[in-house]
Amino acid sequence: SLPNSLCIVHFLISFSPSRNEDLKEMLESNKESLKLEAMKRVVGLIAKGKNASELFPAVVKNVASKNIELKKLVYVYLVRYAEEQQDLALLSISTFQRALKDPNQLIRASALRVLSSIRVPIIVPIMMLAIKEAASDMSPYVRKTSAHAIQKLYSLDQDQKELLIEVIEKLLKDKSTLVAGSVVMAFEEVCPDRIDLIHKNYRKLCNLLVDVEEWGQVVIISMLTRYARTQFTSPWKEDGVFDEHNERAFYESDEEKTRDETEAKPYMMDPDHRLLLRNTKPLLQSRNTAVVMSVAQLYWHLAPKNEVSIVTKSLVRLLRSHREVQYIVLQNIATMSIQRKGMFEPYMKSFYVRSTDATHIKSLKLEILTSLANEANISTILREFQTYVKSQDKQFAAGTIQAIGRCATNISEVTDTCLNGLVLLLSNRDETVVAESVVVIRKLLQIQPTQHSDIIKHMAKLFDNITVPMARASILWLMGEYCERVPKIAPDVLRKMAKSFTSEEDIVKLQIVNLAAKLYLTNSKQTKLLTQYILNLGKYDQNYDIRDRTRFIRQLIVPNDKNGALSKYAHRILLAPKPAPVLESAYKDRDRYQLGTLSHTINTKASGYLELSDWPAVAPDQSVRNVEVIEPVKEWAPSLGKTGKSKPAKSSDDKFYSDSGEEEEEEEKGSGSSSSEDGSIQSILSVRLHILQNERVCPESGSDAESHVQKNSSQSSEESDKSSSQSEKSSSESDSEKKERKTKTPLQKKTVKPTAKDGYHTIMEHTFSYSHWSTLCVSLFTQLCPLSLAFPLQLSGPAFVPEKSHDLLHRMTGKGLSAQYQFPRQPCLYQPTMVSVQISLTNTTDHPLEQIHIGDRSPTGLNIHCFNTIECLEPEASVTVFIGIDFNDSTQAANFQLCTKEDHFSVSIQPAIGELLLPITMTELDFRKLLGMNESSATITMAAENMTSQPISRPVATVANLGMVPSSQDNVHRFAGKTASSGAVVLVTVELRESSTALITINTEKSVMGSMLLRDLKLALAQT
């Protein structure tokens, strides 16, 4: 045909050397468009599976092209052919190494993707280095790519396993939802047996799960299923009451559960077990069928028996999806429905077969309907089966007959009905139907042969019309087996068979020999000659099976000298009562494979299948999963907690101290005991004082501890250049802090020391300015926290603290109590996620106000760290107190009640967006690296006289608590901060342009905050 011949011509052309010459020329030309055209054609060749490897040198030259599409196509080519052309491929490596340092995260990611896809063993060390570096990249997208690269490197060089596990361990700690799925995938591929790496991340993974992308969800759920089966005890022993109780216990609190409670109960579900079940349940509503299936299998393998059925509805819903999806889901339902009929019985109609279903779908539905059949619904099902038997799809009709047979054996009430129905089918016109009926009848008769000799007779009559070998063989076997019940017919059948022996199929011939032997034993008078004749025919048959069988039978039944011993037993050998066949589902033992897996589908162990272990008899230590700080979901927020400490630390003091040096640990105990549960100002102050005293007494000890920590951190990150440079950076910074601290200490000593002795009120009387406070706080904070951070997000002191205070409570409404608040822009000491607010309370009445404290708050979940109740405020006196509020990164007002002994006043604090930030310092390079985050920008006009650096940073700092980032360009000013609550980075760039315009750009993951901040900045800068 014409198109075909055209194809061939095309094929010849594309293969002729002249054509490739032509492509080579185009690739080497100077014109971008020609190169691109050539690459498009090359990709066309690759897609068709044609060999284009000879163009490698010409293509690889374009790897550094500026044109994005050209570059992408070159990448496609490289990945396809690099394995074949290893030496030439090495030419491209330096380009990727350069791109790995690019400020744009997507370029870094794509460079890593291609670099790791080039399967050239010689670059393994380069890949390893690149993966390690990318694993601590600022961008979660790059870290995701590095997780993918781990698997690629592992498949290229398995010797890297140990090093790769280290990277996996690091990435498992990552809090980004983007990374979670990919790193668990890498874990499953590289080190699925290292279950210990999961412990500490288990709860985090459970909590992140809903927000992970759908493909990652599938991988995580399947890993967690395996994990749970090794860590928790079986919930299946006793079902029922206690389970509900357990749910309640979980909601109360983890810590409140005491040990005796666990001992008192026979089974108590581990709260972590419950957490997994609870957090996966909403995913049953996913649009992704793979996610729904994976949750279903999780419930099947992990949930208490009475909870499994919540997955039913969702599985049935999947049956509406594509045919291939139906196939897999039906297979899994088939396995489930054998053990748990009740789960799917209410949805029986969903499994009714439609004429448009594919054959494999039909047979699966039959399988399920058969499993669901019971005394109550059997009549409905049999009626449905009757329509199926009449189907035009004969293979399906045959399947239905087998299904009827199974129903008949399973439900004894209907055995007779089924048998009669099947006998009617023997007169069906279609021989597949008849044959299948014969086979099924044979099996049924074996179960209760005594009553059914007339059916055997009926079948003998039909024998001549039946041509399907299997059916003929079945009838012959029946005759032989029950020859004593049909003594007249059997010899006659044998006679007919002797006549047609040579033209029969092998399977029929074997049964003829069988029948002959059995008749010879029971009725040798009539059949001796016939038998001998058949045995002779068999002796010279072409098939050696038949010759073998014939020889065996002859020796067995015809007595001679040699075998006398055996022929005595011939009757018992041939006519032994045979056990009835059990008609059971092909899916009976399928649940030895984890549901939803490939192995379950193909019913053999697929390579790489990971066994699901049995429940442990005794649960392993639960505390391994405890993590010190349970933080809300965030993107790479700094974790302050010291991992590995089993006691969950709720008190802020603990957290504050957890990263300090060894020496101070002693002190902590002392101070901790004196501090109240709430962590009052007093205790905080006394703690601070300890530090200060410490420093005074032995100034070296603190710095010793610090350098010790640094040494540790640099040791652990020796392999990675980047992180060691980070720790260098931090060490140099902390050096400068140390100096700063030393210069400040005398002053602080003067102010703070006496106050501590005199108690709380005296502090407030010494109204020292906050510059002392701030330096103190910041130096403490930076000293203690950042060494443990994955990323060097150094907090810095505020660039500017606005003096402006806001009315909290007017003295008229407050019946004489007046309150004002200010944002001191300090990191909050109570909890790092809080914003600290300074409140000045003044008593304008003529009598003392007693018991001033904070009462009810709304929204109720609002997390406020209150000040200690002020017992008495004298007339005309005023105090300044600090509270911490977790605004949760929103400008929603915090409402609470300010109470005195007699009154309650509702007050509210409405933060400006800029107050929810904390300034951080970073280098310009880091700043640029981070610019890939969500961006919002605006251009404004500003007055020309304000175009110098100082007036710009001033209004910016007024609006928002941001830190300056050094800038190499005069007209670009950069500011950086992070949100207090979630620690998301906020980057502000102000670029001054000609004609007194300026471009404000804000990059942050919190897009809402970004746009609000932009609005505030626009307002502020336009004013100047």
């Binding site: 995260q105 990919s182 509503q285 594509h322």
Partner: protein
């Protein structure tokens, strides 16, 4: 996970291959071709085929087999779901998913496949993100590209991968802000010989086309949310809000997407919108049979039944038919024995019918199969279950969008069993 992908057309040719790990020889598809030969119908090729060293997982859509090669254990649904996403993406990009369209756009196809999987693991499958990375081809752009030599690949690198709403691109701008929602319900039913319902159920979807500037936050509420029995959501829908208030709250993706699919609880009686009257007789020994079929509207809430199409697989013994439709056109294929009648709109005053005779194979006995007829139809402006959207509100943006809701009912798998 997914090693390679082969696209195979209905005549058994591999017309595209893509490898994400090292190259797998296309000879692995021989196992697939064997299975294809064994299958009587294209649909009957098993979706999972084990071979000695690999596993082949395939889906069939638009008469193209998408055959994925797997080397080790992976949930089969994972692969199947992904392959369907690939097909959806192609359809989204090229309007159709045919061999010709794929071959014409082979470079875009390759670029898409490259972005969708990394090392066999899905990377970017959201259409909003893909469209930022790779621009869909349009006629205009093709012309412009040829003249100027510019490209399909997005110049700007996307931000979506890092956004808190991964399904929505940033910086969306429209001059006309509009949001359209189509409530489409499909009724699946099996009607027996006597006209009584064996099974009937309603499945619905809400498809949306949202073109709104910025980051709108929408809430959609129903008059009767209790009707929805089992729902599955686009990832943008806030599940907690639905659980608590039965309100759909979401930041929508940009453009077309499926917001929700639902199932109407089987407790509610389903009104069957059309009925079929039929009289088909095959007489033993005769070479003639009679065929008579009439359709009529039943419970349609006053809305017209449109686009009615009847098809039936007649028994093998039928040689040909001689039928007269009162309206529309009918065809009968003597080879496949497929009868199809394009009825069009049902006029309740003058019911459409198809009458006439069938010529049967001489001497053939009365066929014992039960023919079934499949009916397709549409009812505009009505959702059969009675589901009604109450209101749609937008938060987070200041402009007033134009909002529209459309209802439609369609036949899904609607079958009537014929007596003989």
């Amino acid at each position: 996970m997914i090693h390679s992908l082969f696209l195979v057309n209905s005549s058994g040719d591999i017309f595209l291959e893509k490898h994400w790990k090292s190259v797998v020889s296309r000879s692995v598809c021989d196992y697939f071709f064997e299975a294809q030969e064994r299958a009587s119908e294209p649909e009957n090729v098993p979706p999972v085929i084990p071979t000695p060293h690999h596993y082949l997982i395939s889906v069939l859509r638009h008469r193209i087999y998408f055959v994925a090669v797997i080397q080790s254990e992976v949930p089969p649904l994972f692969v199947i779901e992904f392959l369907h996403r690939v097909v959806d993406t192609f359809q989204d990009y090229f309007g159709v998913c045919t061999e010709a369209a794929i071959k014409d756009n082979v470079v875009v196809v390759y670029e898409l496949l490259e972005e969708m999987l990394d090392n066999g693991f899905p990377l970017a499958t959201e259409s909003n993100i893909l469209k930022e990375l790779i621009k869909p081809p349009t006629i205009l752009r093709t012309v412009v590209n040829t003249i100027t030599g510019s490209t399909n690949v997005g110049e700007q690198l996307p931000t979506g991968q890092l956004s808190v709403v991964p399904w929505r691109r940033t910086g969306v701008k429209y001059t006309n802000n509009e949001a359209y929602f189509d409530v489409v319900e499909e009724i699946d039913a099996i009607i027996d010989k006597s006209g009584s319902t064996i099974t009937a159920e309603i499945q619905g979807v809400i498809d949306a086309c949202v073109k709104l500037t910025g980051m709108p936050d929408l809430t959609l509420s129903f008059m009767n949310p209790r009707l929805l029995d089992d729902v599955s959501f686009h990832p943008c829908v806030r599940f907690k809000r639905w659980e608590a208030e039965r309100i759909l709250s979401f930041i929508p993706p940009d453009g077309n997407f499926r917001l929700l699919s639902y199932h109407v609880s089987s407790q509610n009686l389903v009104a069957i919108p059309v009925y079929v009257k039929h009289n088909i007789t095959f007489r033993e020994g005769s070479s003639q049979g009679r065929f008579e079929l009439t359709l009529g509207p039943k419970q349609t809430m006053g809305k017209g039944v449109e686009a009615v199409l009847v098809s039936s697989q007649l028994p093998r013994g039928v040689l040909n038919t001689n039928l007269n439709p009162t309206q529309g056109t009918y065809t009968f294929d003597p080879v496949t024995k497929l009868l199809s009648w394009d009825v069009g709109k049902i006029n309740p005053q003058k019911l459409p019918s198809l009458k006439g005779s069938m010529s049967l194979q001489a001497g053939a006995s009365k066929p014992d199969e039960n023919p079934t007829i499949n009916i397709q139809f549409k009812i505009q402006q009505s959702a059969l279950s009675g589901l009604k959207v109450n209101r749609l509100d937008m938060y987070g943006e200041k402009y007033k969008p134009f909002k529209g809701i459309k209802y439609m009912t369609k036949a899904g798998k609607f079958q009537a069993l014929l007596s003989n």
